[in-house]
Subunit: 433 residues, 2 copies
């Protein structure tokens, strides 16, 4: 049973705050182990990576086998059905089209003082993408990480994906190929992150590492941050559905379950202005939980973290949504576009009943790597911007320096930075002398 | 004496790699202390902040005095001279004009499948800015942090600035006022970061914290990251000047010293295609070091981390520059614009001999908060983007769902996410039935 809350109840505010503050994830403290692994890879390079791969993935490799060869990839991807290939290609095409629109523009202008100012965007030279192995090895995530990198213009894009016992996921390899990935390595864990960040004899270092992973991977990304850039450390997935009574309760139930089935720590919340509808959705969830393949996972998530909140009206729904700042927000109401305008903090909004969140996981176009755990208050989903950086440009003329140099000199003096002031003064003296 | 390197020397590559890898900063490990402070502030709120302020800043306050009143601010800023005020206002105006151009645009379009896609930018609701106390309390940094936040549209912008022994910096308070800061608190250290992140009875929590600080502040920012957003953790400042012989060696010397005077760990590097010019600059530095107010600091930085590198030509200079990925890059060469085009990795470029880096610290317009320690390979200076986040939008129509839904269903099956597929299938069945 999920929680049933009603904003008109006396205890609502406390219950809602408790819901917001729920700790859904126990991250084991693996930092010491990860620190040792990173130090080992930095010191011994390939030899350390090979040993750790033998230990954790039960695979005896040699350095020349760390990377998948083109021939191997071609052979393995033959296992993918035509239908799956077509679906991946459609997804890739739509994701690419969406992300191409995100490319920011360079700028250069001259201002009133005669100074030429601007900025220039450029791609990181090399990026590494972590792809989990086993059950969480999602080809869709390969597309969602790799395509923005390639659209941004990353020249060298490497993937690391563990293949425990040597088992590779053909769809992951095909997704990598479709996305234009340049190198694929069959390694995982903290050792793979360390190899990407610091490089080994076989693996050249990268500048940025993205992609999801387990506690070891997350701890390793935190540790190498600074040496390289990283994307966000994602928490368990969440969905908030705001729905009125003019919806099929079963559709909404399935949308809620499509997050819950990811992880026992996932969270699915329904906000509705109709208590009866809320109960109907909960009943529909119970029915679906009888047969869903992942009912154990989805059921635990719904029981422990699920909630059905009844509100007075959609204004109130929008206000609660902003306090939740959900990763995924689905708006199944009559004027969904209007409601979406009232919401400020959300990773992604799915507007209207014909837009189940699952569309966004695969083929919608926008990225499915999104801020979790209320971080949509201050951060955004993955985009081409994560693989770009901006260089600011300034060029003074003698006139511009005459106009604004004295103010710089004055402020440098106020901050007791004499050489700053002198570097301006020397030029001003030349102009005046 | 700085290092003198020449790319034609046999040992150059090794020496250059050593230069790149130099460890310039010893960060004391204050993490355990900081963890305790944060836990204390979370638990006891104002009481903890007041106790810690009494201890570290030797100031006995009460909760109602944590925040500067308007009247206090007005009184203190009377100490600022007209000339200083005018300089700050000019700086603010130029920084504002530059950052206003950075505002990204929302987008919404319909694609061939009939899906409506797009994104929307919105500002972080509340941001906190850390301003160091004492010698490193720079009013220019207040402008550089606060103006982008206000341009982005941050509604509530709070500053924390320690005032050891009760001494406030009038220029910092005036800069805050000019930039439109809403609240100023006279607290600092890890306790101030904790108060901003978690809130106390007096201080409402914020969503994003930016600004420089000492080791305690940096450790606290790292710890609260996730609960709130943070900007980069900046390392000691750096400048790379690329100059040919057609420059006054003294100007270049002053530019190098304007970084060196910040910090003994700062780094100033000159690359030139003329060895004699390089030596002339080094001589000019020595001469300036005889009289500079901060000669002890600047001299130590130049001796320990300074370098003069002679290259064959400017192509080689650009290539080395990209390997350094400098925070500040100054191009004092004949066709400085052309050379700037050859450089990919730099935080900010100062183009031509009339653009000393110090202009950029104060009045140029671009931000002076820039990526250090080679992180310009993957990150950018502070901008309005740091105070904005993007929500992606997707709206399907029945036709769009018909067109792309089956691919989503197929991929969901491949990833063993049944409910994902069913949420699409239920709708497709309705359309078909």
């Amino acid at each position: 049973m999920p929680q049933f809350l009603d904003t008109t109840d006396a205890g609502f505010e406390d219950a809602f705050v408790a819901l917001l503050g729920m700790k859904r994830e126990d991250s084991p403290d693996v930092d010491a182990v990860v620190a040792d692994i990173i130090a080992d890879v930095r010191k011994r390079g390939d030899a350390a990576v090979l040993e750790l791969t033998a230990k954790f993935d039960r695979m005896e490799l040699t350095a020349d086998k760390l990377r998948f060869s083109e021939a191997e990839i071609e052979e393995i991807i033959q296992q993918v059905s035509d239908e799956e290939r077509a679906a991946l290609e459609l997804a890739a095409e739509r994701i690419r089209a969406y992300h191409e629109r995100q490319m920011p523009e360079d700028a250069r202008w001259e201002d009133a003082a005669g100074a030429s100012l601007g900025w220039r965007w450029s791609a990181v030279s090399a990026a590494g993408l972590y792809v989990p192995g086993g059950l969480a090895s999602y080809p869709s995530s390969v597309l969602m990480n790799a395509i923005p990198a390639k659209v941004a213009g990353v020249e060298r894009l490497a993937i690391v994906v563990p293949t425990p016992d040597g088992v590779a996921n053909p769809l992951v390899l095909l997704a990598a190929k479709i996305a234009g990935v340049d190198e694929v390595y069959r390694i995982g864990g903290a050792q793979a992150v360390a190899a990407l960040a610091y490089g080994t004899e076989t693996i050249a270092p990268v500048d940025k590492i993205t992609g999801p992973g387990n506690a070891f991977v997350a701890a390793a990304k935190r540790r190498v941050f600074g040496k390289v850039g990283i994307d966000m450390i994602a928490g368990p997935s969440e969905i908030l559905v705001i729905a009125d009574k003019h919806n099929d309760p079963d559709w909404i139930a399935l949308d809620l379950m499509s997050q819950a089935e990811h992880d026992e720590s996932a969270q699915s919340i329904l906000i509705t202005d109709d208590g009866d509808f809320g109960r109907a959705v909960a009943d529909a969830v119970d029915k679906r939980l009888e047969t869903l393949e992942r009912r154990a996972i989805a059921g635990a998530s719904w029981r422990d973290f699920g909630a059905v909140i009844t509100v007075k009206d959609m204004e109130e729904a929008a206000a609660l949504s902003d306090r939740i700042a959900p990763e995924h927000l689905e708006l199944c109401v009559e004027d969904a576009d209007a409601l979406s305008e009232k919401v400020t903090h959300a990773g992604a909004i799915f507007i209207g009943g014909w837009t189940p969140e699952a569309i966004g996981d695969y083929v919608g176009g926008p990225n499915h790597v999104l801020p979790t755990a209320r971080s949509a208050r201050f951060s955004s989903g993955l985009s081409v911007m994560d693989f770009l950086k901006r260089t600011t440009l300034a060029r003074m003329t003698p006139d511009a320096l005459r106009a604004i140099g004295p103010a710089a000199e004055r402020l440098a003096k106020s901050e007791s930075l004499e050489a700053h002031g002198l570097s301006v003064r020397a030029r001003l003296d030349k102009l005046n002398g």
